[in-house]
Symmetry: C2
Subunit: 452 residues, 2 copies
């Protein structure tokens, strides 16, 4: 009788399944066959071509980042601590108009993926210019991605004539839809204030026809309500509701100023939300009413946003901020407890992306997206409660090994699909170019004026 031989086994760790039952298994064994989790057990031994010893480690599903603009790593730290409109209109938009090219997008995305893998993310949902390049980079790095083709009623670096955006979008979907569930195409309307009602509706109609997700930034800042009310006589959520673009295939990003009535609309229609606390804190944009959303069973995932506003792509930082920000704002330490927050970063994110049957937990039959953390470190000692430890004490740098779709992409902190030195060099060259040409007042080393 032949013994079944798995491709990979992970043995001896403490497994947080993050399944609906939140099962935790000691001395766990996971058997991976191809791209699938084929066996989950405890206190058993299996045969495998490759065995990973996880004794003293935590094993959990890879983290899911529901909102990124990856190539913005090239602008990381370039223009911080500025008033929002200065930052956007005088720094970010002009720099994007000047420096965003196909090559910059690809090189930036590769560096961003190195950073994400090194900090435990296995799936991301991106929206930027030249999104084909992001998809190509994800394919190259072996990361799972939802890639969103962007729409706005102005010319963008990749679509100098915006009337061609729809045909470009349809070509984009045709090109990538057969790569799901590794690469899943989607459409991203930038926002209700940069997209006309016609654009918002047409893109949603095309998304429905293609059976893909539809994303939009929504209510990141307080003044969006005024802008939309002045223009359309409706609050933003009601504006989108009237246009018929809200449903369970729509993801609204940020939602810092959602009011109780808006939350009910989202709950009724199944609209999901990407919560980006770190970016919204740094930009002083606002605080999303996440505990209230969760009470009404709105699906909420976590996201980092781009590196110009965060400035990291580390989901451990995001979990930490999400847990603590809502506690102090509500003056209630029981909200957003550690297990809830870890769930938001795993199965919650999978639900937002419509992939909860495929990823987000470690269960037999799901795709093998798994991370392993070394807990034998001073800042992770002692280990009473793995959820607390992960949310309040662990850092991205504690992720030791990462598996995506059954392939090991990082082992003992060494990236296996990305040449890290080259990725760093390429972005450093882009940065040198930006510094040498950018006409504005960027200071490489501000002198600390205004420091108290």
């Amino acid at each position: 009788m032949e013994t079944e031989k798995f491709d990979i086994s992970i043995e001896g760790g403490t497994l947080l399944t993050m399944s609906a039952k939140m099962e935790i298994m000691e001395n766990a064994t996971i058997g991976i066959q191809g791209d699938l989790i084929a066996l989950v057990g405890s206190n058993c031994r299996i045969q495998a071509h490759k065995t990973i010893n996880a004794k003293g480690h935590l094993v959990l599903p890879g983290l899911i980042n529901t909102h990124t603009h990856l190539p913005m790593v090239c602008f990381r730290g370039l223009a911080d601590d500025l008033p929002l409109m200065d930052w956007l209109n005088h720094q970010i938009f002009p720099m994007e108009a000047r420096f965003v090219t196909k090559e910059m997008v690809y090189d930036g995305a590769i560096l961003a993926m190195a950073e994400m893998i090194l900090s435990g993310t296995t799936t991301f949902c991106d929206g930027y210019f030249f999104e084909n390049q992001i998809a190509e980079a994800a394919k190259f790095c072996g990361m799972r991605a939802v890639v969103s083709q962007g729409f706005a009623d102005f010319a963008t670096p990749d679509n100098p004539r915006f009337e061609k955006m729809m045909s470009a979008g349809i070509r984009f979907v045709e090109r990538w839809q057969s790569f799901a569930p590794m690469i899943t195409p989607a459409f991203f309307c930038h926002s209700p204030y940069t997209c006309s009602p016609k654009t918002l509706k047409n893109v949603k109609a095309a998304a429905r026809e293609a059976g893909i997700l539809y994303l939009t930034h929504l209510l990141e800042n307080k003044d969006e309500t005024d802008t939309i009310e002045k223009r359309y006589g409706r609050k933003p959520v009601h504006h989108l509701l009237d246009l018929g673009v809200l449903d369970d295939q729509t993801i609204a990003v940020h939602c810092n100023w959602l009011d109780p009535e808006d939350i009910t609309v989202f709950a009724d229609l199944g609209v999901s939300v990407s919560h980006n606390p770190v970016s919204s804190m740094k930009l002083a944009a606002g605080i999303a009413p996440v505990p209230q959303m969760l009470k009404q069973a709105v699906r909420v995932g976590l996201g980092t946003d781009g590196s110009a506003s965060n400035n990291a792509l580390d989901m451990f930082r995001e979990m930490d901020a999400a847990a603590k920000l809502h506690k102090v704002i509500s003056l209630d330490p029981t909200v957003m407890n550690a297990p809830s927050v870890l769930k938001m970063a795993t199965l919650g994110g999978a639900r937002v992306l419509g992939m909860e049957n495929l990823i987000g937990s470690i269960e037999t039959g799901k795709l093998a997206d798994i991370i392993i953390l070394d807990m034998n470190q001073p800042h992770l000692t002692p280990l009473y409660n793995p959820y607390s430890q992960l949310v309040y004490a662990a850092r991205g740098a504690d992720v030791k090994t990462s598996i995506i779709n059954g392939k090991i992409v990082m082992e003992n902190r060494r990236l296996l699909t990305i040449n890290m030195e080259k990725a760093i060099d390429n972005v450093n060259q882009i940065a040198s170019h930006i510094l040498s040409e950018h006409p504005s007042t960027i200071l490489k080393h501000p002198n600390g004026q205004g420091v108290t």
Copy 2:
């Protein structure tokens, strides 16, 4: 002619001096002689017995943690996400009464120092029971410490008869005062609600006589004002003012509910503040009005608080939280800019501890407390602005080498004064003991009830 030979040179890095002028030097050279910074220059070569190549690295003063309860690492993650009074009265206080021993304090402190050195802290200010043990541990590890003997009007694990606290305190000062500026003794009155007016006054008188710092927790929570007003007919700050214990040798810890009038009192009298944003966020205790304090030139340093409430001792997390929390609360992204926050964690902390002439910046004649970060990593690329990168993107784990008082205590992430494995083992044994004996409802692995 003999060339001067330094003990240590650090060459080729980008130096953030954090001096009053916030000078930044490229290709910097630092010469260390004994415990002192003997030379600071750029584009020069010196002879030294030991040369550290810092090319591609940032070099800056070691971080100063102005508030810790180090042995609480033993309770890290044991009781999170609970209502504050449950946490304090049903978890922390009973556990301290049951498990705090001299050995637990020493072993916990050693692990905490490993964590702090590994994340860039070179000086801390601690208050706990058996503070002699903390001082001994700091001496052993080579960390710079302000160690505070505690006072409260109830029996504590180290002073079962509280009437003996004053004589114990005086012996403590006598024992350690000759070790300054490595070990500097201080007195810590727990709070205005656990210390009688008599205790607050007598301890301050003794601190004045000994010429040492006087610390107290103040206004961590909102209800402290009610408690003190009911008991003494005064707001807490006015209560302390009336008692004459507020001066420029007093450090008030937390100050989350300081009102504008209180801030003016602090500014007039030179009282300084330890700001602990992460702990106060997690406990949902409140948000200190730090931008307002800084406007009135109140000295403010950063601190982590204990690991039961934080749950880390990582000053990089603290800087990140301090910068972003105040932005989002004020809806103003310009407050608490990155250089200000880094200053708060270095020279600002030194000012709070009355050590600004000795540490907190890299200048000739100061003590050699220096950390070196490896910036050649994806999440730290590109490097436009070192302040932004340190506050918004770096993590404790990026600190590669650390020097305290002219001695290398960590090199290439390897601790040189602490046996890390042993430190971890010792605290794991304490944790096993707590888990086996603790009578309450601690769950090693909560089942995630209430998870949404």
